[in-house]
Symmetry: C2
Subunit: 157 residues, 2 copies
């Protein structure tokens, strides 16, 4: 089983990168996880928001095989508490696919093609966080989910 | 008007401190904001969770005047999207108090005395984040709220 956080554009802030690396390291004790960063769309200023979303969506789809599970981090997704989220992750494992992709969209969100392809949508909060910051939040939350599934005490520290 | 994030215990991770400082600096262009960190309760290992919450609560109350506004960051609080949150902050400003405290509890949450004193409860997410990480999330969200109130473009970047 491989988990991949698939996102667009550099994190940009060193404090966020440090945090991502810290929780990725912790997560590596539980599951094979990586973060794949796709390049920003070129000449985005000459494109409409819709065009940017479509091109970003194509970049995402190029990385994904038909049998893979695709979960979007999306404000319109389902909200979970941390325990429910760990159960949701376990259910995804139980589906038996080999690769789960978690997608973070760019500032304008996902294209229609990505919504069509998605197997699920997860909302971390009703609030909007920067699409860079959401990476850190998500990786910490995935780490937390793994410790809950293993019955380890991190969640209540 | 003074806004204070009142919390217990050091942030502990330098990447979070860097992030807090970055958004505090940005926030300072909009409103007078500070973060007051109270010491961890001494000899906490010899105390029950309830005793720790009560002592933490007393530390909080020692900082707060009767006319101040007290808002808890609490999983059981009201969820807002970022726009609603900016409106909520504006409403708090309109109440005319001079000092708004935002409280982040320790790992066991707030004492009953704090719930009694609170003027409102805010939930950033159904998910549990570490009480250190929530500081960064909150400061970024408060900064975002101020840019929304000023009609500035940060929110959609």
């Amino acid at each position: 089983m491989q988990l991949t956080l698939l996102c667009i554009g550099k994190t940009g802030k060193s404090f966020l990168e440090q945090g991502e690396l810290e929780y990725m390291k912790r997560l590596s004790h539980y599951v094979s996880f990586d973060m794949v960063v796709l390049p920003d769309i070129k000449q985005a200023k000459s494109l409409s928001e819709e065009q940017i979303k479509v091109r970003e969506g194509q970049q995402f789809l190029d990385k994904i095989q038909p049998q893979d599970t695709v979960l979007l981090l999306d404000e319109r997704g389902k909200q979970f508490d941390s325990l429910e989220f760990s159960n949701y992750i376990q259910e995804q494992f139980n589906r038996g696919g080999k690769h789960i992709f978690f997608l973070v969209g760019g500032p304008y969100g996902f294209s229609e093609a990505i919504y069509q392809r998605a197997n699920g949508k997860i909302s971390l909060s009703k609030m909007t966080f920067s699409h860079q910051m959401i990476r850190l939040f998500f990786i910490e939350q995935l780490y937390r989910a793994m410790t809950i599934l293993k019955g380890e005490p991190y969640h209540h520290r």
